[in-house]
């Protein structure tokens, strides 16, 4: 197997989008009344979600008058269920490594295809049934629910693992307050099923 030089333009695109999205999202209101038991925690969670790039991948992008922008009507609902992705193009040998959907919610690379998760508290398709422990175990271990498959790129688990337990609890608390959106994100595809025919 020949090791190819690697360059990840979509990675940089994500990084650049982070700055744009952070500015855009700084004014996003908490959509529901804050948890009366721990309003400070919810406010803190909203701040962390808004400044840590969560929307960049978990909120689908749409094309606005000034270019791609997060579609806040679908905030944090992950890859749109209705957007069935065709097989990812097979990249030629060379420095291109990753292909990204226009929504910035699906990513094809050597690991297969990953789709960003629905983080809203919808019981059937989001995190509605996740406990705080499920959420923290996922971030702390880099495994789905702390027990299953590895969480896939571009989710920056090594970065988010630097959150304190209080930070993670705040993020979780905030995510419980946003509007639930029914959106069943597809399971990731393994490499063999990710690309078009050779």
């Amino acid at each position: 197997m020949t090791r190819r030089p690697v360059l990840v333009p979509s990675f940089w695109a994500v990084a650049a989008a982070t700055a744009v999205a952070t500015a855009l999202l700084s004014a996003v209101p908490v959509a529901r009344a804050a948890d009366s038991r721990a309003p400070e925690k919810v406010v803190r969670g909203k701040y962390l979600v808004s400044t840590s790039g969560c929307h960049d991948c978990h909120t689908p992008f749409k094309l606005g008058p000034n270019g791609p922008e997060p579609d806040m009507a679908r905030a944090l609902s992950g890859h749109p269920q209705a957007l069935v992705m065709p097989p990812a193009p097979q990249l030629p040998p060379g420095p291109w490594l990753v292909t990204t959907a226009a929504t910035n919610t699906a990513f094809a690379g050597p690991w297969g295809v990953s789709f960003t998760a629905n983080l809203t508290p919808d019981a059937d398709t989001g995190l509605g049934q996740w406990s705080l422990k499920n959420f923290m175990d996922t971030i702390r271990t880099g495994r789905h629910l702390g027990r299953g498959r590895a969480v896939l790129p571009p989710m920056p688990i090594p970065v988010y693992n630097n959150f304190t337990d209080d930070d993670l609890e705040a993020v979780y608390s905030y995510l419980r307050t946003i509007p639930p959106i029914s959106n069943r994100v597809p399971e990731p595809l393994p490499p063999a099923q990710a690309t078009a025919a050779k």
Binding site: T141, R147, R149, L189, P190
Partner: protein, 349 residues
């Protein structure tokens, strides 16, 4: 720079982070310091260390396994909740993995005085006279000629907790059901108990298991099933899947029950069937037809559960960690059971 980016991507995908909860310094550096073997021996367990053999085995790429437990002197296991035994502080368990007669690794768990469990694994040296504490990140692809494909993955500490902390108790394979004298003759990969191994009756007789409900002393725990094949298949799923897919508070929030109960085997069987037969689930791949179900009676080709047991692709395989190879004998058993299933399966056996 390119290498750094590649490493970032690989790290995000493949290297689960390690919880910073274990005090490595406090763990013995060598297996010989854990109290498993008698002084001066690397093969003979101490007199208060008891061997045991669960009736339903976890598939581990064909490794031969031996298991031991030590309960502190004067203490006992509280079995009043027969599916969630409470182990006294100081309880130690070991599991030794071998390939081709060569000891590769011995895993160790211990309940500490504060009630928390700690996990370690020890890698045997070439002389076979002791084993050394593995790093908390494990040892991926350790070269072991006798192992399948010549490689062996020593698990990371986080891998230990991924399985052991998903059930009602972190001790897996040492339970009323697993140690029942009513052993399942169709269970795959069974290692017959060795001389001196303890079963449930012996543990009760020695006073090491206390407060077990009388009904389970009179009637040996057994998987309830409509047939011998179903009994073995449910037992196999219990041992290989039930530590995550169970109804305890520690299980994953997925509506799927594959753990069987010693206390109420009829209820756990019913819950397993209710949560699998004809249930669409959310997992789909192009390999599966649109009408696939977690288990499609008489149709293994439409059964998601079997497809995931057959997969060894990192994103889809079940169990999600611990193996590189599928288990032909286990797969054949589960497929045989699915082919036997009928619409009357919900009836009490």
């Amino acid at each position: 720079m390119a290498r750094v980016l590649a490493a970032l991507l690989a790290a995000a995908a493949l290297a689960p982070a390690i919880p910073q909860t274990t005090d490595d310094a406090a763990l013995p550096e060598h297996l010989s310091e854990t109290g498993l073997f008698a002084d001066g021996s690397s093969t003979q367990p101490r007199r208060d260390v008891l061997g045991f053999a669960p009736q339903y085995a976890l598939w581990s790429d064909g490794a031969d396994k031996r298991r031991w437990i030590r309960v502190p002197t004067g203490a006992a296991i509280d079995a009043s909740a027969p599916d969630a035994w409470q182990f006294p502080p100081g309880t130690q368990l070991w599991k030794e993995f071998s390939h081709g007669g060569r000891r590769v690794e011995t895993r160790y768990i211990e309940r500490q005085r504060n009630g928390r469990w700690r996990y370690a694994t020890y890698v045997w040296n070439a002389r076979g006279d002791d084993a050394t504490l593995a790093p908390s990140r494990g040892v991926p692809a350790l070269a072991v000629a006798e192992a399948p494909q010549g490689r062996y993955d020593v698990p990371a500490r986080a891998d230990c907790t991924a399985c052991h902390e998903g059930a009602a108790t972190p001790v897996l394979g040492f339970s009323a059901l697993q140690l029942s004298r009513d052993r399942d003759p169709l269970a795959p990969h069974v290692r017959a108990p060795a001389a001196g191994d303890v079963d449930l009756d012996a543990l009760v007789a020695r006073g090491l298991v206390r407060d077990l409900p009388a009904a389970l002393i009179q009637r040996a725990p057994r998987v309830q099933a409509a047939s011998a094949v179903e009994r073995a298949a449910l037992g196999y799923l219990h041992a290989n899947c039930g530590h995550c897919h169970n109804r305890s508070d520690a299980g994953v929030p997925v509506q799927l029950t594959l753990a069987q109960s010693a206390l109420d085997p009829a209820a756990s069987r019913s819950e397993t069937l209710r949560s699998t037969l004809g249930v669409a689930g959310r997992y789909r791949t192009p390999d599966l037809p649109p009408d696939a179900a977690l288990i499609a009676p008489q149709a293994p080709e439409r059964s998601v559960l079997l497809a995931r047991l057959r997969s060894r692709q990192a994103q889809t395989q079940m169990p999600p960690l611990g193996t590189h190879l599928t288990d032909p004998e286990g797969l054949a058993l589960v497929e045989r059971w699915i082919r036997q299933l009928s619409s009357t399966v919900e009836e009490e056996p």
